[in-house]
Amino acid sequence: MKQQVSISQTDYLREAYEQLQLADNGGLSAVRAEAFGDFSSKGIPTTRNEEWKYTRISGLFSKPYHLAPLQTVPLTAEDMAPVRLPGHEQVSELFFINGVFSEACSTIRDTHLLVLPLEAAAANGYKPVVDRYFNHSSGYLQDGVTALNTALIQGGIFLHVPAKQALEHPVYIYNITDARFFPVLSQPRSLLHIGAGAALQIVETYATLGASDSMTNQVMELVVEQDARVTYCKIQNDTPRASQISTTHIRQVGRSEVNAVTVSLNGGTVRNNLNIIMEAPRSEAHLYGLYFPNGNTHVDNHTVVDNAAPGCLSNELYKGILAGQATGVFNGKVFVRKDAQQTNAFQSNKNILLSEEAGVHTKPQLEIFADDVKCSHGCTVGNVDEEALFYLQSRGISREAAMALLLQGFAADILEKIKPARIRVHVEQLMSRRLTPEVSEVS
């Protein structure tokens, strides 16, 4: 297939790759080499690729980016302060800076939580786990973007929660891009292994410092073992100059429970790939999403729920509020494999457009190969209900405040799923501030 963006426009990526391979101590070089070959043949997807039809990213990779390791001023605690999330004093915090894990900035509060450089994990005692699970996502996303992340892996982490350990403290993961001095491409990479019977709460966010353009191409892979529980909350509220492709690839290799909430407020072009592969019978997955872009922000949520084993339950609800000239995409695929009998898979996407210029493309996609299943999907796109607005106004509530109440009500069943509670409150406050400063005082 002919690509709009030739590899010559992304020559800087080849240089970066070659340098990395020279420096590598052996742990990941074979993976990188294969991925670079893959990237070279596939390139950056254009809008002619069905998976990228409404999200144009070709231009996002052909800027004069700098890649890690960067010669820049180290970040201070003051630089980090505005980025840190409420309750950070009582959680484990992992910092990726320009895509590279920073041990110096990070804090680990549970002795059971193991965080290792990915290369080290691949080269020592965790080699079997890494060999078995690492880079599974590349088989799902055949589009060059994941391959690029893999080809340029450096400073990635392997996170391990041993069996039967319910971590006392949530883990906050910060992806910080330092674009104060020049445009930066960050490519964080991680493999998280949640042992049998373990429990983990993850909150992840993104922040770009400075006024230059930035691009984050992240891949996180989670492997969830038997009877483990994972809650994952992603908060995207970056600057309009910060774009990102964020891939979260979750395999439920044992019967387990996953709750994921994705909140996208600000940013440039934001693309999320959330893949949940239900490989063990009777697993459960809940996927919630709230996107509320304004300005020229573009938010694209691509989700895959792959029912590969019988008796699983998946429940997906994504809601969008689109203001200004913002655009959105929801593409939700549900696969039910031949052997996945008695699957329950539900999906719903609801959108409210607040302006004439805002728009959304929504596409549910169900592919069912089993016959004894319960699946449903639905999507709506509409405006704020005028009768509801009038109802609130007729009780003395100003139109602006009434609008805020209705939109908060619309988002409520997503927001209430966010854990831990202080992060839920934090996101509710971000919402309120977006709606009107006035209403947040009253309600």
Binding site: I397, A401, A412, D413
Partner: protein
């Protein structure tokens, strides 16, 4: 309190109200009756400022102000209340949060400080008890999954919380069984005083057994064709609207 002079209004270019005259004084209950399509709900909509309705002539004065100039929320803050024929379900917004916002927005309009939380909660509990509402309903999404009776009780509960000067009850009895009608009417009766007034819009006489009007007006084809006392409602119940339609017209009193 409310004075309507030669009010003409319609929707989408269709004239529905063709010259309404009505005066409501404090301490009184007025009933407007009439067959379907006579303009009863249009009158309620125009008075409360529902979008899509256009006033083409006449005037409405409420407590000395030109009502038609005010936004719907300003009308509410001035003391006008509409009990909806079809209360709207609002997912994700609890009745408590809704009514607290309403009370405080109205207080703000009037230059009063927000009600303190304790006083608000006490008031809410009292009024909910008055309407025989399960307090648990107050923390549920507004009207969502409520029965017809629960929705109407919630309307009168809101009226009790907002303490309007003039309450318009638009077909509040429709779809209610007799017990629910009694609860709703009792609620309204308890809120009556010499300073406020009620305008009851209804198709049937039965609500008026419990909420006894001082004046009854018959609306037909966009005009008030008869006015009288509560006996007029009984006469309508007995004879039906046909005797109005068949051309008996005794003028506007």
């Amino acid at each position: 309190m409310l004075r309507i002079d030669n009010l003409q209004a319609g929707i989408e270019g269709r004239e529905i109200l063709k010259g309404i005259d009505l005066e409501i004084k404090p301490g009184t209950v007025h009933a407007i009756m009439g067959p379907n399509g006579s303009g009863k709900s249009t009158l309620a909509s125009v008075l409360t400022g529902r979008p899509d309705y256009t006033v083409t002539g006449g005037s409405v004065t409420f407590l000395g102000k030109d009502l038609l100039e005010l936004s719907p929320e300003a009308r509410a803050a001035e003391g006008l209340f509409l009990s909806f024929q079809y209360p709207v379900e609002i997912p994700g917004l609890s009745t408590t949060n809704f009514i607290k916002t309403a009370v405080n927005e109205i207080r703000k309009y009037r230059g009063e400080p927000p009600l303190d939380a304790v006083a608000f909660l006490r008031m809410m509990k009292e009024q909910a008890a008055l309407m025989e509402m399960d307090p648990a309903m107050l923390s549920r999404s507004l009207n969502e999954g409520f029965s017809g009776g629960e929705k109407k009780r919630n309307e009168i509960f809101q009226m009790a919380m907002l303490q309007p000067k003039l309450a318009i009850l638009d077909e509040t009895d429709s779809g209610l069984d007799i017990d629910a009608i009694r609860v709703v009417a009792n609620g309204v009766n308890k809120l009556r005083s010499k300073d406020n007034a009620v305008l009851v819009i209804t198709h049937y006489q039965r609500l008026l057994d419990y909420l006894v009007p001082d004046f009854v007006h018959v609306l037909y084809n966009g005009r008030i064709v008869r006015s009288g006392t509560k006996e007029l409602a009984l006469e309508l119940e007995e004879k039906g609207y046909d005797f109005i339609k068949s051309g008996i017209r005794e003028g506007v009193s």
